[in-house]
Amino acid sequence: MNRTYLLMAGSLVALIGIVVMLGDREKPSSSGRAVMLYCAASNRAVMESIRKEYEQEFDRSVDIQYGPSQTLLSSIEVAKQGDLYLPADDSYLNLGKEKGLIAEEIPIAKMQAVIAVPKGNPKSIQSLNDLLRDDVRVVLASPDSAAIGKVVRETLSAIDRWDGLDKTTKAYRGTVNEVANDIKIGAADAGIVYDAVLHTYPDLTFVEIPELAATASQISVGVIASTEHTADALHFARYIASADRGLEHYGNHGFRVSGGDTWADQPELSVFAGSMLRPAIEDTIAAFEKREGVKVNRVYNGCGILVAQMKAGQHPDAYFACDSEFMNQVHDLFPEPVPVSQNELVILVQKGNPKGISSLRDLSKEGLRVGIGHEKQCAMGWITQNTFREGGVQQEIMPNVTVQTPTGDMLVNQLQTGSLDAAVAYLSNAAGASEFLDAIRIQGIDCSVATQPWAVAKQSPYPNLASRLFQQICSTESQDIFAAEGFRWQNLGKDATDE
């Protein structure tokens, strides 16, 4: 009887002792809140080395949950915890995006599908045909559950080589590492794996074949949409994806890396943008700065002036031009512009249109004070002159032009003060002054519509950061702002509908 009570008391004391010891073993985090990353188990080796370096450099902690990519995604969906997600390949990020779990992704590295064989290639496997030989035991990753299996099946099916390989495959495994493990322990002679996986298998080597040349997977890190600590999360995400920090580790671990941003604790992105775009993008940029924990130095001005500054040696990371013409003038700096929006040239007049202006030709009425954009300093002036020429009214109107300004906003101000009777400016310039001004459409002249392209400088140290800013500019919320400011959205993709 005493023994019974003793046992009960003893086990209770033991339990309390264990709980105390479990509680004690948690080390206090070095400073502040730790960033939580869900990471594919296959990336553990490289991620541990990055984490170690990051924690040393910044005295910040990173908690990493390792596991299979799909399991981690399910955990994110249920627990709604964590800041970042780094799956084995970006197909899982796409899944996460579809479910609204992932806000954005940052590209890191690529892995190439190759044939893995034991070191020395004892079965002399050199081609896809060798995998079909009777004396070769082939193991593949499952095309239904593993990312590499999926892409290999797609690639080989497209060239009618899949069925043959499917028939000779001895077994399908759940993950790419299981395939490599099989070859390592001698259960298989060959298998198709990612080259980067073999970095931790010194006993294995790989053979590249042309049929799989286009079969690569992208590794990216995604920001979890529900995180409330975006700046901290993105700080570590930028570290992982930076060329001179995380990507060096990825390169050392056999991944294929290219590009990547230069590391900066708080990078400063420099953006040149035409003045008329300011109301459409300013709020988006401010929100981006806050979310990313970075600084965006924006310079708004007439595009002609901006181009002159760039030609004089100033090199922004990104340029958002008022018209393609001005982007073309700096094509060597910005080789890949993307059209984003359109803006229509209109005639702005005082509210109620006291001078009775209904067309371009009316601007030539005697005694009318007309303001237009400066032909050399801004895209608007350049397009205005083209429109005048196209409409055959240039000679008649120019004598009435009393002022040429580098931005449309100046013209609006002058109209409001009464120093002008009419001005030719963008519809977006009038968006904030509808109480004082009326806009009259210019009919039948195509060149009166300007197209605004965005481009990232090829020399920019922060191409990924600039691309993420562009993603924000293309977001639905941003498109709504563009529409409210009088811009028409260019059809860049499925969600970028014409407003």
């Binding site: 009887m1 023994r3 019974t4 009570y5 046992l7 086990s11 033991a14 339990l15 264990i18 709980v19 010891m21 479990l22 509680g23 073993r25 948690e26 080390k27 939580m36 188990a41 296959s42 553990r44 080796a45 541990e48 908690d63 990493i64 949950q65 390792y66 596991g67 399991t71 399910s74 955990s75 249920v78 627990a79 709604k80 915890q81 993950t175 590492n177 490599a180 493990n181 390592k184 322990i185 996986v197 073999l198 931790t200 298998y201």
Partner: protein
């Protein structure tokens, strides 16, 4: 004549009996021995020592010992009364309780982990268990050590309940009835008669619970994660090492788990029986 031939007949008949029975038994024993031998041959002493020297594996070792022990003791505390009730009483809904207790045994481990995760994060009219534990009680569970213990306990306890139920089934209730006729309450009869007789069953339940908790992997991975130095136990270490192709380390850790299991099982067995019967 008859009396002398009988022992001869028995001797002749015993040999094939032991050969067949021993042979079949030996197959399984040999299989286990071969498995362990293969692991030992695959790794080398230096790999084994290297693995043991890693601080993260030492941390996983410590967490494994502590969490398995916590799960086992908790299982014993829950399994003893539950096993007793299931064994002694026929109450309405007993079949349902009996079935529910077995669910963690048959459920795929990953499902159990996912169910725990969902339970702690299910919003009920804006209230969430995990958020309440974290913000009001200051005791976060998901992705922390309590999640490891809870995941292990959920499975281990089901096995312990089975063991305790069988234990009480085998104890004649007559002694308890007699005690009650002599003035004992139900509680006193349980504490003074049934429990002391269930001594070995309790040791067996603790043993089974501890061993089951040691092998637990899926629910821990889903519910507690595998954060190094925090929620990583040895079973998740094996998985993580395999994931990056570190077979040697994985095998070394596996052998460590085998050694731990053998030591703990032997200790509990000696405790329970006074010897190693």
């Amino acid at each position: 004549m008859k009396s002398t031939s009988s022992p001869t007949f028995r001797r002749r008949s015993d040999t094939p009996f032991f050969l067949v029975m021993g042979g079949i038994s030996a197959c399984f024993i040999i299989l286990i021995v071969l498995l362990l031998a293969a692991d030992v041959v695959f790794t080398s002493p230096s790999d084994f020592i290297d693995a043991l020297r890693k601080p993260e594996i030492q941390a996983a070792f410590r967490l494994t010992i502590l969490s398995c022990s916590a799960a086992a003791v908790l299982s014993l505390w829950v399994a003893t009364p539950l096993g007793y009730l299931l064994s002694r009483y026929r109450f309405p809904g007993r079949w349902l309780v009996d079935t529910l207790v077995d669910i963690p045994i048959v459920l795929p481990p990953l499902v159990l982990g996912l169910s725990l995760l969902i339970l702690f994060h299910l919003p009920i009219f804006g209230w969430e268990l995990e958020a309440w534990l974290r913000d009001s009680v200051g005791f976060p569970v998901t992705y922390q050590w309590p999640a490891v213990v809870l995941a292990q306990f959920s499975v281990a306890c089901a096995f312990a309940v089975r063991t305790m139920r069988v234990t009480f089934d085998q104890i004649d209730p007559r002694a308890e009835d007699v005690a009650r006729t002599l003035g004992c309450t139900r509680g006193q009869a349980f504490m003074q008669i049934a429990l002391p007789q269930a001594w070995r069953g309790m040791i067996a339940a603790t043993t089974i619970a501890w061993a089951r908790a040691l092998g637990e992997f899926g629910p821990i991975l889903v519910f507690a994660g595998a954060t190094r130095m925090r929620t990583e136990v040895l079973s998740t270490t094996v998985f993580l090492e395999l994931s990056i192709g570190q077979l040697n380390a994985a095998v070394a850790v596996s052998l460590l788990m085998v050694a731990m299991a053998v030591v703990v099982l032997l200790i509990l067995r000696v405790l329970g029986t006074g010897l190693n019967a």
